[in-house]
Amino acid sequence: MSDPTVALSMKKVSKKFPGTLAINNVDFDVRAGEVHALMGENGAGKSTLMKILAGSYPDYSGDIFIGSQPVRLANPSQAKAVGVGMVYQELSIAYNRTVMENMFAGKIPKKGLFIDWEELKRKTLASLKRVGLHEKINPEALMKDISQHESQLIEMAKVLNDRPCIMVMDEPTSALSSEEVQMLFKIIREIKKQGVAIVYISHHLPEVFEVADRVTVLRDGKKIETREMEDVTKEELVEMMVGRKVEDYLKEKSHSFAEPVLEVRDLTRYGFIHNISFTLHRGEILGVMGLAGSGRTELGRCLAGADPVDYGRVVLGGEEVTIRSMSRMLDKGLAYLSENRKTEGLALRLSNRENILSSIIGRLSSRGFYHPGKGGGLIKELYEKLIIYPPDPSVGTSNLSGGNQQKILLAKWLSTKPKVLILDEPTRGVDVGAKKHIHETIVKLAGEGMSVLLLSSDLPELVSLSDRIAVLKQGHMIGELTHGDGFDENKVLLAANGERSVFSVEY
């Protein structure tokens, strides 16, 4: 308690969301001048814990001390005032404005009535120097012309302007190349020397080992352990994150799959995914694992025709197809369930019936007139299959729980009767019960002969559903784990971190 080097300590902090205890009695402390890694699977509570620190959730319980001062963080500006600086993954950038205006928004220096441009430029350069960009970036350049990597550093410099005593970085390397990561680490070490306490959220094990001094692992909203980095091994960390919750493999047995349905060769969208090749068989569930920024969603979107494809050959059901548009791919029997149901998947103001049938309006129409009545039987069938609650398709989709909304989204794509179904994070933000139903439905569908490409960062989900797991890293498919060889969450996580020894097949 009286340790003078402790910059931040959180004591018995909890945060409830409707239905779940997102943070459960967590103690967490960070020393001045250390990099403290915060790790855990998706949904473990890392981001929630840090949002409490940022003042975004005023209704937490427990105590927070900055230095030895007790504080109550009720809003973001309060958190800022006590010295908490957040470098967000989603950068808050005004793209139309210049670098210097972005960095000093709201506090642009004045000389009399007018702006002191010289002073602004000087201050910007001084601030950029702290992140090593003062010779590379013109303060007068527009933010939209700045690369993502440099934007990230500029965002850091902006946060450092406020002289924070605690700086939180959420997955700062997800969009960076390895050289850029090294540059970032150099800067982090500099900042550390100045006595700033840094919380570093990441999934990337090698990075954490390289940059962090201590690590705290969260799982299911609880703190598992805080350890010195020197005393912990990669395997131990993975085990702490994953735990021993061995979920039963949901599929009865691994068949040998013979009939290829989707063959992809050298699929490329320059700058996003390069030379992706794989084969998906009838009735198979192929999991695709990759950390943030690996190109997982991009792969799904390219195959579905949502994003342009620059190069590559795709054979679907024995027929070579050119990917041109989503509707064309739907006609060929490939459906894509997008990652974000609220912005991309569902029209929340429409009814469930309208949402489910929205993907087959063309098929239910004749001579230009739409006959939604024809879809009645299909809706009944899907409602029974997915156990959607409430069992009334005329209810507005916005009134449903997250889990049932996700089922509606799944029903929407199943109504097209696809040969290949691409699922992008099919159970994100979904309660346990709905998750189970969705998982069982996926397995059942595969048993009936549908092929599934499962893009997910949820390790238990990947492990319990997939027949094979392909691993993406930095836009490339680097290898594959087959169920026959036995895979578990530890192996998958190690594989996604580029640990090549665990692969069954290496590319």
Partner: protein, 366 residues
């Protein structure tokens, strides 16, 4: 790599200043195609017509930079015009009319100006409050205000054209200082508009207030996080819009010595002209970028097109068509640029080198 960056910077710069190229192009074409286009006798009335939309365009641009549309300006012009005329007559009569001498005229005009400007600013304040605090889309708020204010003007003027009962100010405000070719465009009205334009351009580009407004329009969340009072900025931008629209209407009415209640309902609507000019002048429709000076240059450009088309012997219909097509081209270009930009979002810089190699290898294989 470096070279493409330089190129795109050049293209950026040209695009930023496109309105000047447009104007030059229009002037060249019209000079060649329409005889007498460059004569002072043609330029002077053309500039005179441009003064109203230039003034209204100032506030309209401010509102759009903050990320909003202020469609109510179409009616606020008439509010300013009607009130300044009506209130002048009321106070002139109160002060004794013709028998009271010049002092009464001046006092009545000052009171009328203040009241009309206050009315315009008040409309802007109402717009701003509903948009900023009520979180209603500006389109809906200001189109409602447009209708309400048209109603107000009809009620106020009882549907009649109002003329001032004194010619003193008209004689002053519209008289050129010098009867010299080209310099004859300089009148009091011209000077007032120019000064106000300069004032607001400086406010926008050279003060913290202006830079903060850009920030609010560009990314409201980021501006808010940086401690800028975003609601207040939006409200202020609407007040400015109401103020300049009213002032535009006031000066126009005074120069004609007539406030017509339905001005703009037939012919080329000043609202449409201002909207087209603001967008063609480079103000981004979603906010965060723009310039009142460029809006003014765009107004002049469009007026030059109208004028030149008449000089070529084409009618009113072609004027409207030309303005619409110009706007269409600019909006399409803008949308395409946004689309190109959105495609690149999320691109991994670490893959770009490899992407270039792959591209090269593949194109040589073909």
């Amino acid at each position: 790599m470096l070279k493409t960056r330089d190129n795109s910077e050049l293209i950026n710069r040209i695009n930023h200043n496109r309105i000047y190229f447009f104007l030059a192009l229009v002037v060249i074409i019209m000079t060649l195609g329409a005889p007498g286009f460059l004569r002072s006798g043609n330029i002077a009335p053309m500039m005179k017509t441009a003064l109203l939309p230039i003034m209204v365009g100032i506030g309209f641009t401010f509102a759009m930079i903050a990320g909003n549309f202020d469609l109510s300006v179409g009616a606020v012009i008439n509010v300013g015009a009607a009130i300044v005329m009506g209130e002048f007559n009321r106070f002139y009569a109160l002060f004794g009319g013709e028998s009271a001498g010049d002092g009464a005229v001046i006092a009545a005009w000052i009171i009328a100006f203040v009241l009309a400007l206050a009315a315009g600013s008040l409309v802007g304040l109402a717009n701003g409050l509903v948009v900023a605090k009520g979180k209603v889309h500006s389109f809906i708020v200001t189109i409602g205000m447009l209708t309400a204010m048209s109603g107000f003007v009809y009620t106020y003027s009882k549907g009649n054209t109002i003329s001032a009962n004194s010619y003193m100010l008209v004689d002053v405000i519209e008289k050129p200082f010098l009867r010299v070719p080209y310099l004859e465009i300089i009148t009091w009205r011209f000077l007032i508009v120019s000064l106000i334009l300069a004032f607001f351009e400086i406010l926008l580009t050279k003060t913290r207030w202006g830079r903060d407004l850009f920030m609010v329009g560009s990314n409201r969340e980021a501006a808010w996080q940086a401690g800028i009072d975003t609601d207040r900025k939006v409200i202020e931008s609407f007040v400015i819009s109401g103020f300049t629209a009213a002032l535009g209407g006031i000066l126009f009415a005074v120069s004609m010595n007539a406030a017509v209640p339905n001005y703009g309902e037939r012919g080329i609507n000043p609202l449409m002209l201002v909207l087209a000019s603001t967008i063609i002048g480079g103000t981004v429709m979603t906010g965060g970028h723009g310039s009142v000076l460029k809006t003014a240059v765009a107004v002049i450009t469009i007026q030059a097109i109208f004028n030149g088309l008449i000089g070529m012997g084409l009618g009113f219909d072609s004027q409207v068509l030309a303005a619409g097509m110009l706007l269409g081209v600019v909006v399409l270009g803008e949308a395409y640029a946004l689309y190109r930009q959105s495609l690149k979002r999320g691109e991994r810089p670490s893959l770009m080198k490899e992407a270039a190699e792959l591209k090269a290898a593949r194109s040589s294989n073909r």
